[in-house]
């Protein structure tokens, strides 16, 4: 009773103290929490991005489409674009397939055990890309661990070229992207209602049938979305193609770097960046569309 009373007086005091604060100001109150980051992101992210778009059209005091014209006609840009798309989709596909086996394995174990096994995915996920790249140069090189092992086993001087070529880029990038695809696939598998599988089993479906008729179709939207997501992340990659690829494996990100550092042509670098981000937006919105469409 006494606490009730105290509570009442307290609220009246609070009310008197704050006056009749309309809801608007209260919302603005939460707005103050949002304000610092919003201002920061506007000034240090949005304005710079617009600056890139501007720099791709505006050179020496005039507006021009010349950078985009060069992009459309130049063989170097075609190669970089094709490399970016093919390496991106290829590694996206590989990482979804590999990631599915891991996610499926993780989804069928008790939670306590899963917390332990997921370390095997999270440790590489959080390991620096440079540590991985260094490790792959040691593993895949001509005198690398794998080639030495192959020579020891076969007793010949066989050397499998696995670095400074397409294979090196794809191995390195798949390693980077697999954890990105494991997590969404795992959460899609875990969110499935076990009753559906049980029902299929009760009706006489074999394990294989349960998987292909129930589990896999239900996980498909998540799988497609995470595959496209992984491809987009891969398409922006810079370190892996630069350190593990050869001259033929230049991707758009490396071209941006080349135009900033070597050619000192900000206009061209900006145009390539604009094309890259439009590509990413296109694929990401396809992914969002696929997910809403399929999960309906």
């Amino acid at each position: 009773m006494q606490t009730m009373h105290a509570l009442e007086t307290n609220t009246t005091i609070g009310k008197a103290h704050r006056g009749r604060i309309p809801i608007m100001i209260r919302t603005l109150g939460f707005g103050t929490f949002l304000l610092p980051l919003t201002v920061f992101m506007l000034l240090v992210f949005c304005v710079p991005l617009l600056g890139v778009a501007r720099a791709s059209f505006y050179t020496n005091g005039t507006w021009t489409l010349s950078a985009y014209r060069e992009f459309v006609s130049g063989a170097l840009f075609h190669r970089a674009l094709i490399n970016t798309l093919s390496i991106g989709f290829m590694t996206g596909l590989i990482s979804v397939i590999c990631g599915y086996f891991v996610a499926y394995h993780l989804s069928r174990m008790p939670q306590r055990k899963r917390r332990l096994y997921i370390i095997l995915v999270m440790l590489p996920f959080w390991t620096s890309i440079l540590v991985k790249s260094f490790a792959f140069t040691v593993l895949l090189g001509t005198n690398g661990i794998i080639n030495q092992a192959l020579q020891a086993i076969s007793g010949t001087n066989v050397v499998v070229p696995m670095i400074f070529n397409r294979a090196g880029v794809i191995i390195g990038m798949a390693h980077w992207l697999i954890p990105f695809s494991v997590l969404p696939i795992l959460s899609s598998l875990l969110s499935q209602d076990k009753a559906l599988r049980d029902a299929a089993e009760v009706m006489g479906a074999t394990g294989m049938q349960v998987f292909w008729k129930v589990t896999f179709p239900l996980s498909l939207p998540g799988v497609l979305a995470s595959g496209l997501m992984a491809s987009v992340i891969g398409m922006g990659s810079f370190v892996t193609p630069s350190l593990l690829g050869g001259r033929q494996d230049l991707m758009m990100a490396n071209l941006v770097d080349f135009y900033v550092r070597e050619a000192l042509d900000w206009r061209m670098a900006s145009a390539i960046a604009v094309v890259l981000i439009l590509l990413a937006l296109l694929i990401l919105s396809t992914a969002a569309f696929v997910r809403t469409r399929l999960s309906r």
Binding site: F101, P124, T206
Partner: protein
Amino acid sequence: MNTLHQSAKATSRLGRPISASVLIAWLVYLFLIVPSLIVVPMSFGTSNELVFPPQQWGLDLYAKALDPAQGWLSAGGRSFVLGLIATGLALMMGVPAAYGLSRTNFFGQKALSFMLLSPIFAPTIVVALALYLYFATLHINGSMLGLVMGHAVIITPFLVVTTLSGLKHLDRNIENAAMVMGATQLQVFFRVVLPAIKGPVLSGSLFAFLLSFDEVIVSWFIARSDQPTLPVKMYSSIQWEVSPVLAAISTFLVFITVIVSLVSAFAQPENTDGF
């Protein structure tokens, strides 16, 4: 492919054949974990060439890594300070922003949260180029200020996401109770909300620090070439000549990753899946 599940269950009493899909899953685990682990034994070799397994064991590579003349120590120190400041900035902006996002519902809020989180989706090279051009006009390329701002752009959205997931588990009635008792919004935030989400915020900021400490692309564009961060120095070192010292540096980075993961695993509540 999944039969394994069924068949393994069915035959486990007879001696448990391992199914193909579990085998593949293990091969993928192996592929994922080997690069992080292989650098550890390599770092205790002594030769000037990269050979595995090392012919002789010793701490020579660590001595070389810690030799101030090599520049690894100062690059590491630079990255550490940069990581601390950027994480502090991310905490000050990101945690309140996450709270604001989770407790409001206004027109355009979806667009705002997309804007605040978009550095996660944007290709890092584009962010790096954008900041490089922007900082060039502001004349802060190569400065610590530029690096801190660049890193804050990259890591703050990540901290917002982890804080949001922590706020999801928080019962709003506790905040309402505090409000009813006369607490102001700021008091509610600092004395009710923050203490309740300190686990996820702590683990989020540890990973944010790690993101900054390992960040290479933005730093590659912004940092002065004679004052590189640790990842930038590693990047140019791998590019030109793969030196065995890198094994020692890599082992150190793997060690930091393990520490951060362990600490944050303890900071997370029991019922989450740890990611």
